[in-house]
Amino acid sequence: MRDHLKENRLAQNLLKHPLAALAFAATLTVAPAAEAMTIFVSNEKGNSITVIDGGSLEVTATVEVGNRPRGIALGKDHRHLYICASDDDHIQVLDTESLEIVGTLPSGPDPELLVISPDGKRLYVANEDDNLVTVVNLENGTAMAEIPVGVEPEGMGVSPDGKTIVNTSETTNMAHFIDADTFEIRGNVLVDQRPRFAEFTADGKEVWVSAEIGGTVSVIDSETLQIKKKISFSVPALQPEAIQPVGIRILKDRSKAFVALGPANRVAIVDAQSYEVTDYVLVGQRVWQLALTPDETQLFSTNGISNDITLIDISRAKARKSIATGSYPWGIAIKP
């Protein structure tokens, strides 16, 4: 990822000098310029993946996939997009170049959200029906473990060092910290109602867990498993019930974090050092999931009811553009 970033900046600089760029391109086999970025959006009701060119922000393809696609994630080498086909009870694998479905993986019933281990070798997926987290070996495509957790597991996070998996259970209202070697639960942290999403900071020291019905984000110390801070949100003229935090993204330097607020139709911007909410950006209706561009200058939100995604300029804290997708956009992943 770091290397890509460097190449990105290099390529951008080179673009200002066309001749140099030409010379450079000749020596470089892969030159992932920012414009080469591709955005994948799962459409929950559309049963499809919308593919958007990151440069032109135009939809370039709509790929028919399995029933009720929700959580999506890219593999480590970005060749494959893993799709929770919730109503088909498995995970589909989409080739991000050919845009063909090239395989399916076991997941247990009704997979909703998944994460890939930092080494790219494993996939962790929550099965809401069976109160289990399934561990899939991506090298041979088999389920290698099932871990019993609380009722209706949903959110999945994995620490940057790959050693800890965090799962949130929506009815038990806990974040379960699971040892990735032994698959034993190391501890359970009670958070507010209906925890939907878990996100580690890049340094691995904190896990941020959103509670949809509780209306809060709990910042958990990943060592002590104590809640360091509970972040609340408030938007003038909006009923507190409408504020339902779901997706979270945190900048690598932990300067800012972003929280999708569901039917509040806004993305909150949080100072990730002081935990103060600094801004609310109006996007589309029922905003659930978020994705950062690799250079962390832009954020995209999926707006389920509006059938679109919104591009937010991070430095200006402004929504810049909406892009129409398929029906009920849910998950989002960005390929550099």
Binding site: D129, I185, G187, V189
Partner: protein, 405 residues
């Protein structure tokens, strides 16, 4: 039934084998607690729906409690809290108060009441009820929210006023405000009709005509029965001519309501107990993550979840949530938490559910269903309230004589 019961027992065992390893820091409590919850119902004949499509439900209620106790057990297994569901059925000729007192004397303090009105009143009035919590999953009577309130009793069932308000809000939102109230003659029907009158007045609709159904009940199974229905229903419903927008049908006991849609004198839609129905829960609802909830229920019960199941589920889960958050099994501690501003229960209806402290009625959105799909959910947009839009449904604090402390 036995196999189902064994399946449930298996689930419970499976839930108990969840690893209890690891430090529990950050969690509410580590002290072990045993929490028996008594599900109290009465042996009754099942209600026969007029439509053969609707199942005859032999045991509405208990499966909701069984599902919720499983949910509580899974959560409790991480905290050292052990939940047990004690199922007690009062015989058809038995005395509910006696059965309640036996359970109470055996040291059980947490009750789900799946009992009819008279039984609920009998147990709530017992002196020994003071140190218990009783969750009413069934009785909708408004007077139990208006002037006959009891400190131990929490209502997870909708009141009739909440149903009527939810329906009329939707009709007003549609601008279908002229209503023809067509009600049966039972006490329940009369009470529901009164709730409809109140709702119309509250939200600016008008009852432009009223009539009652005066014919004899029609057997659900009669050869060529439709011929009579087709002739009788237009006659029975012509009082308002076609000078109204929606017929409000009130027939809680399945005597005639199912026959009204498409058989009314005027070409008008039907809503109320039939047609478009306000309901706490229905199979058609799969929003707000309830797909799994519906599936988990159907898996253990072998049928769809009824409103009483949902009410029982809410009661058992409300107890579980209060125990988890307070780390206590003490009745006074739980009651204070349940009544407080911090209590919020996820009930698969998009917002946290809580109790109104003045009458201990659970605030909840009301589904509007037509048996095939979810049509809408109230409160409707634009119906505001200074506390929460949910308090636009049912009796608000200044309207009641109940001021539970």
């Amino acid at each position: 039934m036995l196999t189902r019961y064994l399946a449930t027992a298996g689930f419970i065992l499976a839930a108990l084998t969840v690893p209890l390893s690891g430090p529990l820091s950050g969690t509410a409590a580590a002290a072990a607690l045993d929490l028996p919850i008594v599900f109290l119902t009465r042996a009754e004949e099942p209600r026969l729906p007029l439509s053969f499509v609707d199942p005859v439900v032999e045991d509405p209620g208990v499966w909701g409690a069984r599902l919720a106790i499983k949910d509580n057990q899974t959560t409790g297994s991480f905290l050292g809290h052990t939940y047990e569901l004690v199922e007690v059925t009062v015989p058809a000729d038995g005395d509910a108060a006696t059965v309640f007192a036996e359970q109470r004397d055996a040291g059980r303090h947490l009750f789900i009441s799946d009992l009819p009105r008279d039984d609920l009143l009998a147990i709530a009035r017992l002196p020994g009820a003071d140190d218990t919590l009783i969750f009413n999953d069934r009785v909708a009577d408004d007077d139990l929210r208006l002037n006959t309130c009891f400190a131990p009793v929490f209502h997870t069932a909708l009141s009739r006023a909440m149903r009527a308000d939810a329906l009329v809000q939707f009709l007003v939102w549609k601008k279908w405000t002229d209503l023809f109230l067509f009600a049966g003659s039972t006490d329940g029907d009369q009470a529901y009709a009164e709730a409809m009158r109140r709702a119309a007045k509250k939200f600016g609709a008008r009852i432009v005509a009223e009539d009652s159904y005066a014919y004899d009940p029609i057997a659900r199974r009669t050869d060529s029965g439709h011929i009579q229905v087709q002739r009788q229903m237009p006659l029975a419903t012509q009082k308002a001519d076609d000078d109204y927008d929606v017929m409000i049908a009130v027939d809680e006991n399945e005597i005639f309501g199912e026959y009204l849609p498409f058989n009314t004198y005027a070409a008008r839609p039907v809503a109320g107990t039939h047609g478009l129905v306000p309901s706490a829960w229905h199979r058609v609802q799969e929003q707000w993550g309830s797909t799994q909830f519906q599936r988990r229920f159907t898996q253990i019960a072998g049928r769809w979840m009824e409103e009483r199941d949902y009410g029982a589920w809410l009661g058992v889960r409300a107890i579980g949530e209060a125990v988890t958050r307070t780390g206590s099994g003490d009745v006074a501690t739980l009651r204070a938490y349940l009544r407080g501003a911090d209590f919020a229960l996820g009930g698969f209806k998009g917002v946290g559910l809580s109790f109104r402290p003045w009458n201990q009625q659970m605030r909840q959105p009301v589904l509007l269903v037509n048996k095939r799909v979810l049509v809408s959910v109230s409160p409707q947009p634009g119906f505001l309230h200074q506390r929460t839009p949910l308090d636009s449904l049912g009796y608000d604090e200044p309207e009641t004589g109940c001021a539970l402390q």
